[in-house]
Structures are given as structure tokens and as C-alpha cells.
């Protein structure tokens, strides 16, 4: 049984976009040890993206490759959660400049990590054996990522007044973007119907429990969410993805057909 290509691309785009964002800290981390730790998280995501793109490319044929999928698709073709493309700072327009805020980085990794331990775990039982194998590998990585992020959420929330305020602001800023997790896309619905994908809605209670437990330990609160629900996985993104892809894809696109 083969997963719908759009479903694989959704998983791959998530991984590449977050890998790209986290790598922005490389050389700028709050302390050397943490710089190294976050680079490991980033490397895991780039690795997941490569496996998923390779699988999608093999299924698509027609000369598709991991790099044609990562570098030569436009913004609207990307199927990642909007949460993952946001810059490492609070809500600002796409072309605004700001310092990176480690609290935003950590809270984002935490929300996504909590989801992905559940998603990958379910996908180890996917009817698509290739996808199940990628899930088994990614699950171990995701557990470590969640551990890393949750540990820091607690340290920031329960740390100093400043770190508590920053962590709470990051939670308040990012929480609404998690609403998209629970909105099934056509690709997800199709994948669930054929026993390949995971029904994300069924994971919500477990995700809530994971998140609430850590937020409580961190003395952070969960904001009420209403209004806008992001639709990144449908290809409708924030203002930020265009900049991210412009930077990521620019060199490759300036030399179409080149091998690196």
C-alpha cells in the first residue's frame, strides 16, 4: 500500500522547514552545549525530510528527487504546518526584523515534538511499509526532541521572572497555530481511509495531556484560542514561508540542473 504523495510531502515539508529554522541557531546558541544539542535536532529533521522526499520522489517518478522536491517547489506547494515556518520571535510581519527569542524556538519544538511522538508512533503501524520504517526511525528522534524541548519549557517557565514571561509569551503567540494539527487535510483523510495515515483528531487527547502536564510543571498557562485556524498543510501559509524558501532555494534555483 502506498501513501498518497501529498501525505508524504506534508511530513517531509514539516521536517525540512523546522530543520531549516532550527539550523538558524547554529553558531548563535545561548551556550555552546545547547548550540550543539539544537544542531542535532536540526540534523534529525533534515534526515527525516530526506528519507520522506526520497520515498515521495520514487513514487512520483518522472525525474523527481529529494532536491527537486525541496528546492524547486513553490510556497503554495509546501504542505507544512504554519507553526513551523514562523521566525524565532513574536508576532511580526514577514519583513520585520527582530532578535531571535529562544523561548519561541523551544515552545515551537515542544508543541511539534509532542505531536510527532504520537504521529510517528501511530505510523509505525502504517499499511505503507516504507513509511512505517521511516516512522520507526523518526519516533526515536522525536522522543528525544520532545524530551529536550519539554525539559527547556520547564526550565524557562520555572526559571527567572524574565524567562517565565518570555516562555508564556511564546506559548500565547504559538498556541493558536497548533489548531491546524486537528484539521484533517484531504491527503490525511485519504491516507486514514486506506490504513496508511494516522487520524490526527484521535491524537488530540493524548497531545493535550502531554502538553498540559509540562505546562503545569513549568507554571505556564494555556491561552484560550479562537478565530483564525492556519492552513499551512493545505498550501496556504503565513507571510514568513516565502522568505524562508527564498533563502533556502535561491542558490539551487540559480543553477538549475546542477549537481552539488
Amino acid at each position: 500500500m502506498n501513501a498518497p504523495v501529498d501525505y508524504l510531502l506534508h511530513l517531509a515539508d514539516n521536517a525540512v522547514v523546522l530543520g531549516q529554522r532550527n539550523a538558524e541557531w547554529c553558531g548563535h546558541g545561548p551556550i555552546l552545549e545547547e548550540d550543539i544539542a539544537l544542531a542535532n535536532v536540526s540534523l534529525d529533521h533534515i534526515g527525516q525530510a530526506r528519507l520522506l522526499y526520497q520515498l515521495a520522489a520514487a513514487r512520483m517518478g518522472g525525474g523527481a528527487s529529494e532536491d527537486s522536491l525541496a528546492y524547486f517547489r513553490d510556497e503554495t506547494a509546501f504542505r507544512n504546518y504554519t507553526l513551523l515556518e514562523l521566525p524565532h520571535h513574536g508576532p511580526l510581519v514577514g519583513y520585520a526584523a527582530s532578535d531571535r527569542d529562544y523561548a519561541v524556538t523551544i515552545v515551537r519544538n515542544f508543541f511539534y515534538g509532542a505531536l510527532m511522538v504520537l504521529v510517528w508512533d501511530a505510523l509505525t503501524r502504517s499499511a505503507d511499509a516504507d513509511l512505517a520504517a521511516i516512522a520507526a526511525k523518526s519516533l526515536k528522534e522525536a522522543r528525544y526532541h520532545l524530551h529536550h524541548a519539554a525539559d527547556w519549557v520547564v526550565r524557562l517557565g520555572d526559571g527567572t521572572d524574565e524567562s517565565h514571561a518570555r516562555a508564556q509569551a511564546a506559548v500565547d503567540h504559538l498556541f493558536r497555530y497548533t489548531e491546524e494539527f486537528w484539521l484533517p487535510s484531504p491527503a490525511e483523510t485519504e491516507a486514514v481511509a486506506s490504513g496508511i495515515g494516522v487520524d490526527v483528531v484521535s491524537l488530540r487527547a493524548a497531545w493535550d495531556a502531554l502538553v498540559d502536564e509540562t505546562l503545569a510543571e513549568a507554571t505556564l498557562s494555556r491561552p484560550a484560542v479562537r478565530g483564525y485556524v492556519p492552513e499551512g498543510k493545505l498550501g496556504r501559509h503565513s507571510e514568513h514561508l516565502g522568505y524562508l524558501l527564498g533563502e533556502m532555494q535561491g542558490l539551487a534555483r540559480a543553477h538549475p540542473g546542477a549537481t552539488w
Partner: protein, 334 residues
């Protein structure tokens, strides 16, 4: 891995003078050095030896972490996912090497914070090679091939350094390092088999970096303020000129295989010497860059300072949480 000329004096460093009355400790130390023995942190050592080591090891550590910046410049734009992963892993390794080296220096009684303070205030130096910009993707390959290649020449002898923790850190660094030069050279090989634009990119990068890499070995031994003492103490094992020659001899054939031209009209094989002759290095430009007036000194240093300052609240938070946890534990126990 990045070291160069570790005999660049810090702004405030005094010449490593040896003007003590010899005593038993001193004699024992000198005897151990003469016997090519190792010095360990608890051992008595002359103050000048300690100071020289702190300067050299911390300069080396600073070079690793400042060295993350020029290559980090291309992580977000790496033209394939494979190259992106390789580059992240490599830049991350450099951070690791910095960490091992700071740890080695800490055994001498200087904290990492003190060393960072010296870097941030401009008192401590780092390898000047990182004060040049990385202008194209080919720079990443050339840094791996030439800059890491030059660094390897410098660092392999340091695995036999007389100071145990430094030597052990260098063993670890060199082991991890072996992939850095190879990945750079291989990336360039692939580009040289590619389009004209890719080939031009490689040649341009080689032209810009070649002379800077030769200067990495430091001034000629005759003009090198710390070389003699460093050699005597087994902190430095091979002189600058000999290492530079070794590097040139090793690199010329690699450039031929790659198909690039090294930008030196005087570069030619000398049958009598059994070495390559090479042209004059622009030492005035080198010293200007060491003194802070290279193209990127300010950007590099300011970026390190900013990362450290911006991270303060994160470090404080972790410590505050650890203390609260400890207090809670103590309360439970009471």
C-alpha cells in the same frame, strides 16, 4: 578544527619570560619536559608555561567557535539537502571542538567565562583566517579543503603536546576532523565536474583563500615571538615555516587533480630542495587583520558577543530552575 599561528601575542600578554631562580620543582618540571613526559593539571608548572598554555588553548577554542560563523553563513542556503546536513554537522563539530578545548584550558584554573570575557573584550585573539568573508558556496568547500587542511598540519603535532589535557583534546579533535577536509575537497570535485559557473565559483574561491591559508601558519620562525619557547616546552612541536612548506607540498598535487590554478606565479617545484618554492606572503595585510582591521573582524566578534549576551537569560533560567529544584528537594528531605 581551526588553529593557526598560536604564537600571536594577546594584547595584554607579556613575553613569556623565564626569569626565576631555579629550584627543585622547576628542575623536576624541566626534566620531565626533556624526557618528553606529560604534564597534568595537578602537577607543578612554571607560571609562564601555564600562561602560555591558557593563551594558546583558549585562542584555539575561540578560533573554533568564531570559525563556526563563516561557514554557518551558508547553512541556510546550501544547494542540496545532503550538503546542508554535512555542513550543519561540520559546523556543529567545530562547536564541539571549541568545547573540548575550553574544557582543557579550564583544567589550568581559568573559567570558560573568563576566557569568553577575554575574547569579547578583544584581549584574546583567534585565528585570523575567519576574518575573511565567505562569498559563495564554493567557499565552504575551499574552507574544508584548504583551511581545514592547513589546520590539520598544525594540529596533528599538538596530539603530542606536553600538556596532557590539551594533547587528549587534540586527539579527539583530530579523530573527528578527518571528515572535514575530505568533505570539502569532494564537494569541490563535484563542482569542477559541473557547469562553467560552478567551476568559476571554485576557482574564484581558491584564488581568494590561497594566500590567507599560507599566512595561517604564522610569521616566519625568525619573526615569531613565542615559537622558540613553545618548541622548548613541547607546546609547539614543529616550526611555522616547516609546517607551511609541508602544506604547500601536499596541496599542489591536490590542486592539479581538482583542476584549479593556485594564484602564485612563483609556485614551482625545486628539484634541489625537493620542495615547492612559493612567492611572498603579504605580511602587512596579515598583521592588519590580526590587529583587528580585516574585512570581517568586527562582524565576527560582535556576533559572538551578541550570541553570548542574548543567551544570558536562558543560562540564568536553567540555573535558577536547578536551584529551585535543589531547594525543593532539600525541603522534602527536611
Amino acid at each position: 578544527m581551526y588553529t593557526q599561528a598560536m604564537d600571536i601575542p594577546d594584547a595584554a600578554a607579556k613575553p613569556a619570560g623565564v626569569s626565576r631562580t631555579p629550584d627543585a620543582q622547576d628542575a623536576a618540571f624541566e626534566a620531565r619536559i626533556d624526557a618528553d613526559g606529560r604534564i597534568e593539571p595537578q602537577d607543578w608548572m612554571p607560571e609562564a608555561y601555564r600562561k602560555t598554555l591558557v593563551r594558546q588553548i583558549s585562542q584555539h577554542a575561540h578560533s573554533e567557535i568564531v570559525g563556526m560563523l563563516p561557514e554557518g553563513n551558508w547553512i541556510s542556503r546550501a544547494p542540496s539537502l545532503k550538503r546542508k546536513a554535512i555542513l550543519i554537522a561540520k559546523v556543529q563539530d567545530e562547536g564541539g571542538h571549541g568545547l573540548y578545548l575550553y574544557s582543557a584550558a579550564e583544567t589550568l584554573g581559568t573559567s570558560r567565562d573568563q576566557m569568553l570575557e577575554a575574547l569579547h573584550s578583544g584581549k584574546a585573539k583567534y585565528s585570523s583566517i575567519f576574518n575573511y568573508p565567505t562569498l559563495s558556496w564554493a567557499d565552504v568547500g575551499v574552507i574544508g579543503w584548504l583551511v581545514d587542511g592547513a589546520a590539520i598540519m598544525n594540529q596533528i603535532p599538538l596530539c603530542r603536546c606536553s600538556y596532557g589535557p590539551y594533547a587528549r583534546a587534540m586527539v579527539r579533535v583530530c579523530k573527528e576532523e578527518s571528515f572535514h577536509q575530505r568533505q570539502g575537497y569532494e564537494a569541490l570535485l563535484v563542482m569542477m565536474k559541473g557547469s562553467d559557473a560552478q567551476k568559476a565559483m571554485v576557482q574564484d574561491a581558491v584564488t581568494r583563500w590561497w594566500w590567507k591559508c599560507l599566512a595561517m601558519f604564522g610569521p616566519p620562525d625568525a619573526d615569531s615571538p613565542h615559537s622558540a619557547q613553545g618548541l622548548r616546552w613541547g607546546i609547539k612541536r614543529i616550526g611555522n615555516d616547516e609546517l607551511r612548506q609541508k602544506f604547500v607540498d601536499a596541496t599542489v598535487p591536490q590542486a592539479e587533480v581538482l583542476g584549479v590554478t593556485l594564484p602564485d606565479p612563483d609556485l614551482k617545484w625545486n628539484e634541489a630542495r625537493q620542495h615547492y618554492d612559493y612567492g611572498q606572503i603579504d605580511w602587512a595585510e596579515f598583521w592588519a587583520t590580526v590587529e583587528g582591521d580585516g574585512p570581517c573582524n568586527r562582524e565576527r566578534l560582535a556576533t559572538r558577543v551578541k550570541a553570548h549576551r542574548d543567551g544570558q537569560w536562558v543560562r540564568d533560567a536553567a540555573l535558577a530552575h536547578a536551584r529551585k529544584q535543589q531547594q525543593r528537594k532539600n525541603k522534602e528531605a527536611a
